[in-house]
Symmetry: C3
Subunit: 203 residues, 3 copies
């Protein structure tokens, strides 16, 4: 692969957006299981920041994880919890909503993960790997904690595959086609999201 101009850091808003939707998916799972306020916040927090903590803490290792550096992550989780409680009272089919929110978070986290890993001077292959792990990590932690079989391992869910596609698209668009980061991010997230939603719909 070519090594063209340095990748640009995506705006923090993309990661905050991923955090909010992932937190909402976690909070809705917690609601469905009858957790109290603290349990709800804890599960939302783990779902939303777990992948990012794995990414920063285990793989990139250039200092404390993002969640400890900017108070907006904790605020984002809190806002998502309130939103989930409000939405949860009105929506009948939690499972579908949880899956869609999870898909948005998955797509956004995959792209952010690749971006951060490439910024950290990892090879494209390693960056894609880190992107996929950070995208799937929070959801797997959520499922392990509530003792459900992780979506990642259920047949035909295209879960990791959607994250992988998003990650590969982002890396390819930035590195090979030299697209601007935000454009590449938008395209890659859309592709990953559509793939995952199609899997939810036809499964």
């Amino acid at each position: 692969m070519t090594l063209p101009p340095d990748p640009v850091m995506l705006p923090l808003e993309v990661e905050l957006f991923a955090t909010i939707v992932a937190a909402m998916s976690g909070a809705l799972v917690a609601l469905r299981r009858g957790y109290d306020t603290v349990g709800l916040f804890a599960l939302a927090f783990i779902t939303a920041t777990g992948g990012g903590v794995l990414r920063d803490g285990l793989f990139l290792q250039n200092g404390p994880p993002a969640v400890t550096r900017d108070p907006r992550f904790v605020i984002a989780v809190a806002v998502a919890c309130v939103a989930a409680v409000i939405v949860g009272l009105r929506v009948e089919r939690h499972s579908r909503l949880i899956a869609v929110l999870d898909a948005v978070g998955l797509s956004a986290y995959a792209v952010v993960g690749v971006n951060k890993a490439m910024m950290s001077e990892m090879s494209p292959l390693a960056a894609i790997l880190v992107g996929v792990i950070s995208a799937c990590g929070g959801g797997v932690m959520r499922d392990v904690i509530v003792r459900e079989e992780p979506l990642l391992f259920k047949p035909g869910q295209f879960y990791a595959l959607a994250a992988l596609t998003g990650a590969v698209f982002y890396a390819g668009l930035v590195r090979v086609f030299q697209l601007a980061g935000t454009q590449a991010a938008f395209i890659a997230m859309t592709v990953a999201f559509i793939l995952r939603v199609l899997a939810i719909r036809y499964n």
Copy 2:
């Protein structure tokens, strides 16, 4: 928040104390489940050091975790295992004893976590976050491994809330009221412990 004199590092004995009681809670869970000697030590070890490893390895990232730097941690776990076996043969109501030991460990780990994070120049909010995670981490790992629903997520347990209260008290007493570290630690641990024990008692 004000940024008064540098926080002082709490004596290592506080963390060793937390390690021993947390290890005992893990060892008693292992006894109840009929683990052999190695499984008992392993579960005690994970329960007692898991939160600290998350704290040091994932969040603080200033070198290998405490448990690899001082042999007393491993010795503390071994001592706790022996104590658990002796106590376990005499005590009828393991669940209550496990919960109380867990509460002591939770309180002490919350305070140590905040202290170490503040020493690592984290913001008070991030330090509180790290304190809560390091306090709850070992217990959650223990529960996930033995496939029980983590206490953290059971309604009305005040589990994370007790850790959070202890963490906020410690940070507040040291940073705002400028109390000496060991005094602040003692008060914060007591408050957290009482809160958690009340939840156990009236639940």
Copy 3:
């Protein structure tokens, strides 16, 4: 303990070998549970690299984990998946084969873990600890994800004990008896493997 000549880094092939056999054990578990291709690769990947990521990311902390630095780890997992699918179609008694592959991976990872930790200037005790954790880590993650009781905690399995024996042998042979790294590795892996296989056989 004496502190004789610097330990030499074992050839990367030892870790790649551990990766392949551990990945096969994970892939066979995935086959047995009817995972699709992506789930199979994911479980094989986590089983094979999970312990190494814990070792490098949580404990050694001198940069991104090995799996992100050399593409051969991902290739090794892919090869192992293909091999597992081919073998899996022919072999009746998956459980036995999984356990034996797991034993080989356990032994090799224990030795590699101690070696890397000693290279990282950890004390022998800490190095042995890291070796055992990196040996058992991937298998425990695999079992937690598929919601089985981890082998590590089943009575009479000699699981952690085999890893511990291999780790102690390697550290002792290199440090005390000043054997060459590859010789020490071969002896230590054999001892650990035999111990674990005897436990499988007579249990």
